[in-house]
């Protein structure tokens, strides 16, 4: 039996252009709220160069992912792993993916709840907030991938307008904050680039969603464009944050991007930042829905459990995980751990996998050639 290739029913397939929204939505979420601070702490006023470097490298990773997937007819990374390492190691690696994705999901949920508690409802319990989010996630994931992707598509447009309201902080930017140029050493720039990893996480979804794409030959462009848009968003908020905050002020901000909106004020809406935090749910929700879908999908592929049952288990675990954590330092620690692990899982692993795939196919060809003679 060939376990590598999958056949997906035509009714479950999605169009390639959705990759643009999927890539951008899964990456833009909780990371971008705080990323300028972390890059700035390493690369100072040259942080924007770090973002460009990171963007370029992530494009390379994505190209490697496409190269791996194109080697096979129609499979996901789980199939590739089975083909390369055999059934048991593949299962182990798949389980690592499940655990990893769960912690990414958990960190996103906790981070957003923390934001809501800090900005709007300090007394509201984390249980209630996570319950509200989880209900929406369960509702969306229950209906399958196509609904999840549809939500991503709609929420992308529903939250895009937030960008307009950065105009005021742009007006407050100061050019002297960017000078002197190129003061950071290459190693500082690279370390800054590494700190963007939490904001670029999610690129791994390509490994799992690939078999669902109906027109694969057109998949590359939208995926890379989606990634380029993420880079643009990160670059935009980083540049504005450097210009807007003083060099001494930026490292002290936990969520500099949200603070950028605090300067916006209208007579109808006195506190615009409250609106932004509320609206941010539309940024974060597609992110969480897609992550949950991946978890249920991998579990189904590996252990042949019904996706719905997995979903309930994930929901309960997420509720407990997000409900019991209260301390900010603990949340920051989880985010740091996820970011560090994610760096290896999302960006290094595909680059390791690619030569292995090449080697394997070369070896196969030689074997077949040897058999002939």
């Amino acid at each position: 039996m060939n376990t590598t290739n999958l056949t997906i029913k035509p009714t479950m397939r999605i169009q390639a252009f959705y990759l643009f929204f999927i890539m951008n939505s899964i990456q833009t979420g909780s990371g971008i709220m705080g990323v300028p601070r972390y890059i700035f702490m390493e690369a100072r006023q040259d942080a924007w160069i770090s973002v460009l470097i990171a963007g370029l490298l992530v494009h390379l990773v994505m190209a490697a992912m496409f190269a791996i997937m194109n080697h096979y007819e129609n499979t996901d990374v789980l199939g590739v792993q089975t083909d390369l390492f055999g059934k048991w190691i593949a299962k182990l690696l798949g389980t690592i993916y499940i655990i990893y994705f769960f912690f990414v999901l958990l960190s996103v949920t906790m981070d957003y709840i923390q934001v809501v508690q800090t900005f709007i409802f300090p007394r509201m319990s984390a249980w209630v907030l996570s319950l509200v989010l989880i209900l929406l996630i369960v509702y969306a994931v229950m209906s399958g991938l196509r609904v999840a992707v549809g939500i991503t598509f709609i929420f992308f447009f529903l939250s895009l307008w937030l960008l307009i309201f950065l105009y005021k902080s742009i007006a407050y930017m100061e050019i002297t904050h960017f000078q002197p140029l190129l003061e950071a050493s290459p190693s500082e720039l690279l370390r800054g680039a590494r700190h963007t990893s939490y904001s670029y996480l999610g690129i791994e979804i390509l490994f799992f969603i690939y078999p669902f794409i109906s027109n694969k030959e057109k998949a590359k462009l939208p995926a890379h464009l989606g990634l380029a848009l993420t880079t643009f968003f990160i670059l935009l908020v980083t540049v504005i944050s450097i210009g807007y905050f003083s060099p001494g002020e930026l490292p002290e901000q936990v969520w500099p991007v949200l603070v950028l909106f605090k300067i916006v004020e209208y007579s109808v809406i006195g506190r615009f930042d409250v609106l932004v935090v509320t609206e941010w749910m539309m940024v974060i929700l597609p992110n969480m829905i897609l992550l949950t879908w991946i978890i249920t999908y991998i579990t189904k592929r590996l252990y042949h459990v019904q996706q719905r049952k997995v979903l309930y288990v994930v929901a309960v675990l997420l509720l407990i995980g997000a409900g019991i954590t209260k301390h900010e330092y603990f949340i920051l620690q989880i985010i740091d751990t996820v970011a560090a692990t994610g760096f290896w899982v999302a960006f290094v692993y595909p680059l390791v996998l690619l030569p292995l795939v090449w080697m394997k196919s070369k070896w196969k060809r030689r074997k077949r050639g040897g058999a002939k003679t």
Binding site: F121, M124, Y139, T176, Q179, P180, P247, K262, I263, R271
Partner: protein, 375 residues
Amino acid sequence: MKRLIFVCFCLLLSAGCAPTYPIERLGIINTIGIDSDSQDSQALNATYVYFQFDPNAKNINEIVSSKAKTLKGTREKANVKSNFQLVPGKLRVLMMGRPLAEKGVASILDTLVRDAKITDTMYLAVADSAAGNVLSEVFQRSTTNVGTHLYQLIDTNVDQEILIRTTLRDFMHKYYDIGNDPVLPLISVVEHMPSIERMALFRDETYAGDISVEEGFFIKLLSGRYQAGRLELSLPIDEFENIRQKDTDQREEDSLFLSLSDLRSHNSIKLVSKKEVRFQSDIKVQARIMEISEQLELDKEEVVKKLEKVIQKDMERQINQLLDKFRELKVDPIGFGSIYNAKHPITQEEWRKLLSEMKLDLNLNVNIIRQGIID
């Protein structure tokens, strides 16, 4: 469908878990006055002015004072004295007493910046005496609504470009920037009404001295741009001896007074020599004359040119006087240090030492474009 109804129902129910804030029970803090206590130097005295939404109340403003070691602590204590829940979401003005400002305000501002509920667009000000006294005197002795009055006093003057914008964000920004110091309006009480008479200069977080609002004009002239500023000048009359129209004007004064309005300015400051700490500033000013105490033939080009030249000289004199003051107080509200820092990174302490050697070459260009509907 059943699933949808179930999810909606759960969402609706969980909405009840959010704490409610009925507006009738809130005291919405509008202005805070903070002082250091005269007996216990570590304690803070805070005076809160808040709005109450009670239809029967005669005065929509209420005032309450309390004493504690921290700013949040004073709010808790003030809450006990008030029958409303005090909330800071719409805080508009924070006024600090001068004795407190002399000791340093960073610890107080830190809690404001830390609290996401507090807006970055609120104004900061320094009171001439104790902030609590200013607030309670205005509250008791005048009929005006002290909370909104103070806010509007600052806001309209900032809008008209008479004051420099001094929001919390501006203060923190300048405080954290290397080679830049904040300036705040200094509020005193004149005939039971608050009035901005002077500007308070800060050295980092501490009050260092004050200048008049007129002198404050030059800070913005050198560090920002004017869209519609105004300036009153008194020029020595001797300069105009031969162009005065003596036949229509027999007044004997030793100065010529004039007022420039709708003043637009543009400026750029460059560091020209690192060794000498020498800066060069090119300022272009465009304005119209709306008031002049002497009869001059303003339709003649050479008269206007002469006038421009004298105005230029007088402005240069005032700027240099102001810079001397800054050098003496070791403050840098214009931000020469940040221009220096952008070229040659430096620490705040190093810049303070360099500040007294700082030199500025002024390149001022005044251009009078209109003089009203008569010559």
